[in-house]
Amino acid sequence: MDRGFLLESLRSAIEAIKTNKLRSLLTTLGIIIGVTTVIAVISVISGLKTQVASSFSTLGANVLYVQKYPWVMGGAGIDWWKIRQRKDMGMDEFRALKEYGSSFKYVAPQITYRYDVKVGNKNARGVEVVGTTEHFPEIRDQGVKLGRFLSLDDIRYRRDVCILGQDVVNTLYPDENPIGKQVRIKGRILTVIGILKELGDLMGQSMDNVVVIPYTTMAKFVGHRRSITITVLAQDEEEASEEIRWILRRVRKVKPGEDDDFSINSSGAITKQFNELTRTMFIIMIGIAGISLVVGGIGIMNIMLVSVTERTREIGVRKAIGAKSSEILSQFLLESVMISFVGGIIGIFLGFSLTKLISTIGNMPFGMPIWSIVLGFSFSFFIGVFFGIYPARKAASLSPVEALRYE
């Protein structure tokens, strides 16, 4: 297409939009909402995905968390009531897995409570105190960086020893080596034998605000019993899961045909569940976006029909001075695409801002994939062409004389 003609069409389109600013803006509302939704949904979900993927990788591959509840409640056919009725996970299950399990390398219980951990008048509040066995480091792939971990004897003789996470060290012994020193948990004195390697954050929470003690020691000062987590290091997740189900259904006396009354969680499973959850969300939001884009498109068609009628004389003059039908068509098509594009740009900007806001409030990584912007532009372009073609053809097919005579 000739550059001079293209520039003239652009100028004319801009002029038309400028003379009817409010009308054009209202017209683009549907496009704005549609594109904003598309951008925001894609960006937020992709941000969440990155976060989930990176976070759960710290949980380690091939680690199964056998628990009372699933990590993610979602998807079809979830019976909340039934899940809430489940029996606690206890040491019997741990012992059964340890005794009968053959497809996995290690199994260890994790009994978790939140307590204050104190030294003198220093207090680390709400620390995750984990009672476990000597296999914890292998399963979690998290050893000590200083001192030693729990030994079989520590477990067997219920020794009052503990391993501190880095956050706790920072609070209680900021300037000295804590090994051999003592801490207080619920009035009980424990000797520090090691410091755990740092893990960093998971879903915005520090994984290092932790104290590990023998689960046998924990039993000495924990009153009521609560559901525990049994961690398993599997060779093959599928195979291990099947074996765990087989064992636990017997131990927990689940009748044949009934659903499991426990959950086997893992980073792989959660990613899968998360993807299922986001897919539903995605489809719903794309549906909303699609509807607003179509509504926006119809708005554009309507406004372009008005514009063609208003400018019938102008079309006549342009034809009289030599404009071809195809040139009139391009001119009006360009105008509808431009209106749609303006909506698209505003939508991309709003989508960007919305994503930024959500990621700030939700403390999530901010990520706006380039392809979502490309998608936003393509959508608005496509809508502009699709809904602009009919009015533009109407303009192009006007007979010059009729157009000039139009009052």
Binding site: F5, E8, V317, R318, A320, G322, K324, P400, V401
Partner: protein
Amino acid sequence: MSNLIEMKKVRKTYKLGETEVHALQGVNVSISKGEFISIIGPSGSGKSTLMHIIGCLDVPSVGSYHLQGEDVGKMNGDQLADIRKKFIGFVFQDFYLLPDVTAWYNVALPMIYNRVPPKTRKERAINLLTEVDLSDRINHLPNQLSGGERQRVTIARALSNNPEIILADEPTGNLDSVTGEGVMQIFYKLHEEGKTVIIVTHEHYVADQAERKIQLKDGMIEDGG
């Protein structure tokens, strides 16, 4: 030598629902290059219809029209547009300038469709405006110009692709007689420069200034065809 414009038994019929309106009923016109013609007649006699056909904005329902020996009746829309662009310059009673662009841009508009390079476009538009005595109104918007000035801009626009034929439909219709006289002088000058000028009017004092008058009545030529 064949004439520039050669119309034979041209009829133009408009259908208005059931009834037919016979705007032209068998018109023969021949005009040679460089003539200064006026088409005169009462309202509704078919003057504008005839002018639209001469200007290739419309085609005859019946009859033949040859422009420079070429049969216009056989041309498609794009070919007609091409003829209008290169051979014909229109001047309308109501000016029909684009309201949101300056005088020079209005004059340059036909050159955009004729793919004239931008620099030449502006230069030529300014020259044309100077020719119609508007060198000090180049950057004015149409609503900042008087009626006579607007009509002179329209004439400059009609000249922008250096057409063979200038067609004006009631060019003085919206102007007072003094201003109208000024506009007529421009047409006379164009005629002297060799252009074929055809002016539609229903005022005799305007028509009398032409070399030849074609008188229309009820879609037929009474005199001067």
